[in-house]
């Protein structure tokens, strides 16, 4: 697990300031159907390697972030604001 997270708003901050929610999965459209919703709510990958997660800078700027890290090396190679990520996936 990383020791420092480079928050795009606050800079490098200790991981204790953050709360991890888990995999950064995309919420399905309302009409996506039962299977898509079931997968969204219950099914999670447990990848060995690159992994995107939602982290909340709870004791900092209170922004939700998408932290990209490698579960094997603990390397953190990307920290982006979740709103920006959501914007990208929509456009």
């Amino acid at each position: 697990m990383a020791s420092l997270i480079r928050c795009p708003h606050c800079g490098a901050r200790p991981k204790e300031e953050f709360t991890i929610r888990g995999a950064a999965v995309t919420r399905p459209q309302p009409d996506a159907g039962e299977d898509a919703w079931y997968a969204y709510v219950y099914l999670r990958d447990n990848p060995m390697g690159p992994f995107d997660e939602y982290w909340h800078h709870t004791s900092g700027c209170r922004r939700w972030l998408v932290v990209s890290r490698d579960t094997r090396t603990h390397e953190t190679y990307g920290v982006r604001d979740a709103a920006a990520v959501a914007g990208e996936s929509r456009s």
């Binding site: 490098a12 200790p14 709510v41 909340h56 939700w64 979740a82």
Partner: protein
């Protein structure tokens, strides 16, 4: 062995004497001594008993790797077990006690284990304590527990403070020996921010006892000169007594600074220890190398110690470890040791060199080329040794034996992030993994063998780092090194066959134990460690691991490279719980949240209860009330008949703004919010995506684009996080912003039929039902315009009721004014207990019911769930089979048939006449209270088809308490079911 204080030499201050005690005996030493050197100076050779066989043991090392000399230091709350005597600095009044012995160190009953040793071999516990199973609890476990551990922890509270601190630097240099000093000097001169950390009290490392000289200066003087220059560089911070114990991700290092352990109690304002987290752009490990013991029969007798330790005691502490010292080595370190000891005036009687054909450049009475020590004798200390050589065996007197078995670079930190060490045949040692980003090793930690190499490597590595970081600087240059005797060729000598030879002193692991592990199939290094316990406990095998690997390799007929090492993990040396805990102890373990109305509650004699971080007023006893129920019953009745005031400031409060705030609320609540009119409050139900209820509360529309949400006390933070998640990740296109205002508002509930009249005294606006109807929410003027507040006509009690919010700082004054206004009406303060009774009487739910397993339908809120909305959190899982099952437990009231009987929360519901079994369980009581209104205990319960069974007789079954109470299911609204009072 007869150890003694030398007549001269050492870095101790002989002008001052320090008194200390060991096992109650008064002894003395000098400033600069460690407990170990002071004990040796007093000829106290036996300092501890080994873990398993309780064998007499003496000091082996002079530093952090010491496996034997573990003592308990201090008393009461400052009692510190398992302290390494080699790291404990002597101070006046120090109290030390030996461990793992009874009744005394000299006469130890546990030593009988030594006679049982044929039966106590590796895996003994696994093999012996197998059967019968019934023996475990009464016999085996107590026995193992009593035998386990060495020192005993104190039962007293630690009186001292501990701190946690962050530090940042360009370069962290770990170890202030020759390599570290050269590195720090180079980087410091170049202007880099440098932290130089060393675990010892005095920086200098091996320079403090090395007999070589640099540029004509003795090594110690050379160290002093470099330290003097470092002290002039403001960008270099030297941290002594600071052990860097771990290398963590993102170049964060953990370090423990023993700020006050060298004095009897911390200086004013100083902590006992400080835990550092050091963020370094780069780091150089200049941690040196650990000398290895040799494994030969009788090698654990007090008096047998590492060669460098013997030299260190002589040259640094002015202590001769014996009057007749023998040296045993497998390299030129033997001749070097003999020469160093002789130069300090110590009598060396023999040099045993395991190699053939390496003539020693030293004059010693007995020199054995190609010889090995094959035995030792002496009762509690070394008296004689036996040397086996080509010409046979010689036995002669020796009271100390200095052993040099080669060096193992201290690579621990370099392996903490998962890198695997590499075996080097040339070094006969494991070296650090290659390609470590940000961290390099230099000096003997990297396999360097001479002082000159250490100095030049340290300087060169630092020069490379600073250049990389954009500074300009050159590697520090030092004069010629003179008198340095390199180790030369090393003969791999993993063990000398014969009698009992110890590999791991602390865990009493012998060569035979490792052989047994291999024969029984536990030859993998990780298995062998666990089977034999080699490398475990406080020293983590600093001296033993490589020897154990060598012996395993020999037994398996492979190279140590193939055996490999066990995993290196933090901590390098033990770190106290105090340091890790920091200031988070006792009252400071977590923050205490007091309501803005805490002072008001205190004035009314409140009894407080801790709920999470909050301190809430629970009830308010009055004169003559001796039982809490008397107070709570009175408070409940007063609210139903007159009026009461309750502090509800702990409820979560969130201000929500934005053009899309209404749409946002519409999506996070399952019921409709888009069309909530300005000036109105609405009860809202929040679901989780899996369809279960998450939280509830009221949300008011104060303005077109401004809402005020309340949450339950328990989930105030959780709901805030949830709303932020929804706004930022799910619907970032919505124009909505929110802020928690829980701590900004003092909020009070004024409930009861007379609440309107009381409130009207301080509220300027007309409070008539027409002007402020049920669920009105508006900003009001108070005290003739002196203050503004927010008034909500909402009710948790079922009575005519309001909640009034005022800025937190005014809370107590406003509550006082309301109590004064209410006095003629008989107002009372009521607490969380009465609030609970009032809500149970009305069938209102809290998290006792919203326990993560209930749906809106379960609680009778089915009609609230919007059918029109396309989307809201939790909508899409609601139709699953399990969630619409007609048999689901649903909310219902329950009361005893006989009002004299009562039942408790958690009791289960059985159909009348059904056998009391789990199969017949139909649900359980979620909340219960004595209802003064009903005149009996009442409860809310989640029961299969509960709402369809009002009037049905059931059995309330509490198997834990052995209680069975006949009861009846009923409407959960026990008071005023038509809600007339609410709308009055």
């Amino acid at each position: 062995m007869t150890a003694y204080r030398l007549g001269q030499g050492g870095r101790i201050d002989r002008s001052r004497t320090l008194g200390f005690t060991f096992d109650g005996t008064a002894l003395s030493g000098h400033p600069g001594d460690t407990l170990a050197s002071a004990l040796l100076a007093n000829n106290r050779l036996l300092v501890g008993r080994s873990f398993k066989y309780h064998r007499p043991r003496g000091v082996v090392a002079a530093g952090a790797a010491e496996p034997n000399a573990l003592v308990t230091v201090g008393s009461a709350g400052r009692r510190e077990p398992n302290s390494r005597a080699t790291m404990v600095e002597l101070h006046d009044g120090l109290r030390a006690e030996s461990q793992n012995r009874w009744p005394s160190l000299n006469w130890d009953v546990g030593a009988l284990n030594g006679f049982l040793s044929p039966f106590l071999s590796a895996g003994f516990y696994y093999k012996t304590f197998m059967w019968p199973a019934s023996f475990w609890e009464k016999l085996y476990e107590p026995f193992i527990r009593r035998a386990a551990g060495l020192g005993r922890a104190s039962y007293h509270a630690d009186p001292d403070r501990y701190e946690k601190v962050w530090a940042h630097c360009d370069l962290l240099v770990v170890g202030a020996g020759p390599t570290g000093l050269a590195a720090a000097l180079t980087a410091g001169r170049a202007g880099a921010e440098v932290i130089l950390a060393d675990e010892a009290s005095e920086p200098g490392g091996s320079l403090l006892f090395d007999s070589a000289s640099v540029d004509g200066q003795p090594a110690g003087q050379f160290a002093t000169q470099i330290l003097a220059e470092l002290a002039t560089l403001p960008n270099v911070r030297l941290m002594t007594r600071t052990t860097v114990f771990g290398w963590f991700d993102d170049m964060v290092f953990g370090a423990a600074e023993r700020v006050s352990r060298h004095v009897s109690q911390p200086l004013p304002g100083q902590p006992q220890e400080r835990l550092w987290r050091i963020v370094a752009k780069r780091a150089i490990l200049a941690t040196g190398a650990e000398q290895r013991p040799l494994v030969f029969p009788g090698n654990d007798r007090p008096g047998v110690m590492l060669a460098d330790a013997a030299v260190s005691y002589a040259r640094r502490f002015g202590v001769g470890v014996g009057r007749k010292v023998a040296v045993f080595a497998n390299s030129d370190a033997g001749a070097r040791t003999a020469a160093s000891l002789q130069a300090a005036g110590i009598n060396v009687v023999a040099l045993v060199d395991a190699r053939v054909g390496h003539p020693a450049a030293v004059t010693v009475p007995r020199i054995f080329s190609g010889g090995v020590v094959s035995g030792t004798s002496g009762s509690r200390a070394l008296g004689a040794i036996t040397v086996r050589h080509a010409g046979g065996e010689d036995r002669f007197e020796a009271d100390a034996l200095a052993m040099a078995g080669g060096y193992s670079p201290r690579i621990h930190l370099a392996c903490h992030r998962g890198g695997k060490p590499r075996w080097s045949d040339a070094h006969q040692a494991f070296l650090a993994p290659e390609g470590l980003a940000g961290l390099t090793l230099a000096g003997s930690a990297a396999g360097a063998r001479t002082l000159g190499e250490c100095l030049s490597q340290g300087a060169a590595e630092a020069a490379a780092v600073v250049a990389d970081l954009g500074h300009t600087g050159t590697a520090a240059q030092f004069g010629a090194v003179d008198g340095d005797v390199p180790e030369g060729s090393v003969r791999a000598l993993w063990h000398v066959p014969g009698g009992k030879a110890f590999v791991d002193f602390q865990n009493d692991v012998t060569v035979k134990d490792l052989g047994l592990a291999v024969r029984e199939g536990f030859s993998d290094v990780e298995l062998a460690k666990r089977y034999t316990t080699t490398g475990m406990a406080t020293d983590q095998g600093k001296l033993s691991n490589v020897n154990a690997i060598g012996i395993l390799a020999e037994a398996r007929g492979v190279s140590p490279a193939e055996v490999g090492t066990t995993t290196f993990r933090p901590f390098y040396t033990p770190v106290s719980f105090g340091a890790l805990t920091g200031s988070s102890t006792g009252h400071h373990f977590q923050p205490v949240r007091r309501s803005p109305l805490h002072g008001w509650a205190e004035k009314h004699n409140a009894v407080f209860v801790e709920t999470g971080l909050w301190v809430r007023s629970s009830w308010f006893p009055r004169q003559g009330e001796t039982h809490w129920r008397q107070s709570v019953d009175r408070e409940v009745k007063t609210v139903r008949e007159a009026a009461g005031l309750c502090d509800v400031s702990t409820l979560g409060k969130i201000e929500i703004f934005g053009a899309d705030a209404a749409e946002f609320l519409n999506r996070v609540y399952c019921n409709a919010f888009a069309k909530l009119p300005v000036g109105k409050a609405r009860y809202g139900l929040m679901l989780r995506e899996d369809g279960m209820i998450y939280d509830d509360g009221t949300t008011s529309r104060l303005d077109e684009n401004h809402f005020f949400m309340t949450t339950t006390t328990a989930l105030a933070a959780g709901v805030m996080n949830h709303l932020e998640f929804c706004a930022q990740t799910l619907w970032p296109d919505l124009d909505v912003r929110m802020a928690s205002s829980t701590d900004q508002w003092a909020q009070m509930a004024i409930a009861g039929p007379l609440s309107r009249a009381i409130l009207q005294v301080i509220v300027d606006e007309d409070l008539s039902d027409e002007n402020v109807p049920f669920l009105a929410a508006k900003t009001v003027s108070l005290f003739g315009g002196q203050l503004e507040g927010r008034l909500y006509r909402i009710s948790f009690s079922g009575e005519l009721a309001y909640e009034l919010g005022v800025p937190a700082g005014f809370g107590e004054a406003v509550a006082d004014a309301l109590m004064e206004a209410g006095e003629p009406h008989g107002i009372c303060a009521y607490g969380a207990e009465a609030l609970g009774v009032l809500r149970i009487e009305k069938g209102h739910v809290t998290h006792a019911e919203i326990n993560g397993t209930v749906t809106a339908e379960d609680l009778g809120f089915g009609r609230m769930v919007s059918q029109k909305k396309v989307d809201f959190i939790g909508k899409h899982m609601l139709e699953r089979e399990g969630l619409v099952d007609a048999e689901r437990p649903r909310l219902v009231g329950v009361k005893p048939l006989n009002p004299e009987q009562s039942f408790r929360t958690g009791a289960h519901i059985l159909a009348k006449g059904a056998e009391a079994t789990l199969e017949n369980d139909q649900g359980y009581v979620t909340s219960s209270a004595f209802s003064p209104h009903v005149g009996s205990t009442i409860g809310l319960a989640l029961v299969t088809r509960g709402p369809d069974r009002h009037g049905e007789e059931v059995v309330i079954w509490n198997a834990l308490a052995g209680e069975t109470v006949p009861g009846v299911l009923c409407d959960p609204n026990f008071v005023d079911p038509s809600n007339e009072k609410l709308h009055a």
